[in-house]
């Protein structure tokens, strides 16, 4: 795996073994740091509410129960509907998949143009797009609400897709542009001499090279859109609320009793799709890179 590109520190035989152990120790230590909150979440989700109320919050459960998990999935109350996260899951899928696909596609085309078909002003456009990444979303809520009402997609899934695509373009363009800019311009020139057009070059030369950056972009967009709460809560209505809004409804009650075990289980369930994407896409990172003549 990726052998050709790795750069091992190999001073001498004996030192190598020691270094190797040190390396593992450091990596393991970091792994513990990253896993700590997850540990707390999982153990809490397996406890009964009584045990949480009386015992230490960070201890292992005395008796394991999966009740909180089934509650979170199918019977936790989010308002008067006690159907758990299940019904909201589909809304999230229905908005995340198209929004990720569209914004990634637009980003790939934009990045390709800006990196390889440089025309006057292209860099300025790129800078404007990049700066756009920084606009705090709280700022755009109100004018965006007006706009969505004006177009007639307020409170609908297409409306939410539109919003996510609009504010995703900056990042997807950034990722693809920074990747494509490392591909020599001579490649395009040669292809042009051979008579290939804009689309042909994109499709048969750039797309096959794009797997790693495609994965980075998809991971990023998927995470951002799936985990988005602010747009989800503002631009949805009854029936189109995404899973984060339902999660928030289950978790955040001001004057109700807090069921920490259900909350933690719900959070982990809501994160499953992203976790899944990470596990799978992570694999393709490597596969894409070892597939061969990536580095033009």
């Amino acid at each position: 795996m990726a052998e050709s590109t790795s750069l091992p520190f190999v001073p001498s035989r004996g030192g190598a073994v020691a270094l190797r152990w040190l390396l593992f120790a450091v990596l393991a230590l970091f792994a513990l740091f990253y896993l700590m909150p997850l540990f707390v979440m999982i153990t809490t989700s397996l406890k009964s509410l009584d045990e949480i109320r009386t015992g230490s919050l960070v201890a292992l459960p005395e008796s394991v129960t999966f009740e909180a998990w089934t509650t979170a999935w199918s019977s936790a109350c989010s308002g008067i509907q006690c159907e758990g996260l299940r019904p909201y899951f589909w809304n999230s899928v229905a908005l995340t998949v198209p929004a990720v696909a569209l914004s990634t596609l637009l980003g790939a085309v934009n990045g390709y143009i800006i990196a390889q078909w440089r025309f006057r002003g292209a860099n300025l456009i790129f800078s404007l797009m990049l700066f756009g990444c920084f606009i705090p979303f709280q700022v755009v809520l109100l004018p965006m609400a007006r706009t969505l009402g004006f177009i007639g997609v307020a409170g609908t899934i297409p409306g939410l897709i539109l919003v996510h695509v609009i504010y995703g373009i900056g990042f997807t363009t950034l990722f693809f542009r920074n990747y494509y800019v490392t591909i020599p311009v001579e490649l395009v020139k040669a292809a042009k001499v051979d008579g290939a057009g804009f689309f042909r070059i994109f499709w048969s030369i750039f797309m096959p090279l794009s797997l790693p950056i495609l994965m980075v972009t998809v991971i990023w967009q998927f995470t951002q859109i799936w985990n988005d709460f602010l747009f989800g809560v503002s631009f949805s209505q009854a029936g189109t609320q995404p899973v984060t809004v339902a999660l928030n409804n289950i978790v955040n009650s001001t004057t109700g009793v807090k069921e920490y075990n259900v909350n933690m289980a719900a959070a982990i369930i809501a994160a499953f799709p992203t976790l899944f994407v990470y596990a799978v896409a992570g694999k393709y990172f490597i596969r894409g890179l070892t597939a061969g003549s990536v580095k033009g």
Partner: protein
């Protein structure tokens, strides 16, 4: 005609995205600028009243705290995440057999919504429940880790949780970057007997400049927008010691019905972003063009 089309395909394809950005980013910034000059409360109004909102903003001690926090938090968060991300990427790049598992472990925090991981972090960092209590339980009675309840240190607790969340993604970016560095150059350098650390510092890292740009943009954007994190971990407290401009703006706009004030704080935030990001972009893009 066909020829003109062929030549202008790139421009035509870029145009819709450009237009969208123009309207939905810059148009909305202009809208915010306008509203920041008004006395808007519950809903936006459009009668210009002058700079009253900015005067109010700069008179508010809470805004001072929020801006200071943004600089401390932003700087630490970006630097630490980049260093940690790069370190982890380099370490993981040493032909580790369990790389896949480790990579997922480092990356997963990004997948979780802070709405709830915030609670977990609250418990972990709470001196009475989390790390401090556990370590003291082991017999180290004097051990203290109480940043989250100390008004002077709480912002650093936020940095820890933020680094935890984002550094894995930065690692992934760097890992992808490391592996796209040209092997031939590295092999040649090795043949010449150049030590490994020199190969990294003189060849590998400099050739990853675009990756640094991506990482910087991603992190700076997260820093500016950090909102869920603060709300979930400290709720801005103790007091308002961990307030950030984004939480300030949200509180003004939506819980306090003071939209004019929120708009003025947003404009100041945009100005800060502009002052930091534009010079950086300029230098980065100039190098690229050359």
């Amino acid at each position: 005609m066909a020829d003109w089309l062929e030549r202008n395909v790139p421009r035509i394809l870029l145009a819709p995205s450009f237009l969208i950005v123009l309207i939905f980013v810059y148009g909305f910034i202009a809208w915010t600028a306008w509203v920041s000059m008004t006395r808007s409360r519950l809903l936006p109004k459009y009668e210009i009243e002058g700079f009253i909102q900015y005067e109010r903003l700069f008179a508010a001690p809470r805004w001072d705290t929020a801006m200071n926090n943004l600089f401390i938090f932003g700087a630490l968060f970006i630097v630490v995440s980049m260093m940690l991300g790069l370190l982890l990427a380099i370490l993981l790049d040493q032909k580790i057999r369990i790389e896949g598992a480790l990579r997922t472990i480092y990356l997963y925090p990004m997948a979780l919504s802070m709405i709830v991981t915030g609670t977990a972090w609250q418990w972990v960092m709470n001196p009475g429940l989390g790390i401090e209590a556990v370590v003291r339980g082991w017999g180290f009675e004097n051990f203290a880790f109480d940043w989250v309840i100390d008004p002077d240190m709480a912002i650093f607790a936020i940095v820890i949780a933020a680094v935890w969340q984002a550094s894995g993604f930065v690692m992934a970016l760097f890992l992808a970057g490391l592996r796209s560095v040209d092997d031939e150059i590295i092999k040649a350098a090795k043949v010449d007997g150049i030590p490994t650390w020199r190969i990294y510092s003189a060849i590998v890292i400099p050739s990853m400049a675009p990756v640094f740009l991506s990482a910087f943009i991603v992190l700076a954007h997260l820093a500016i927008k950090s909102f869920d994190l603060v709300i979930a971990l400290t709720g801005g407290g103790p007091g308002y010691a961990t307030d950030l401009p984004a939480t300030y703006m949200y509180a003004m706009a939506f819980s306090r019905g003071d939209i004019g004030q929120a708009a003025s704080s947003a404009m100041v935030m945009m100005a800060v972003v502009f002052a930091i990001v534009v010079p950086y972009l300029y230098s980065e893009l100039r190098v690229k063009r050359g």
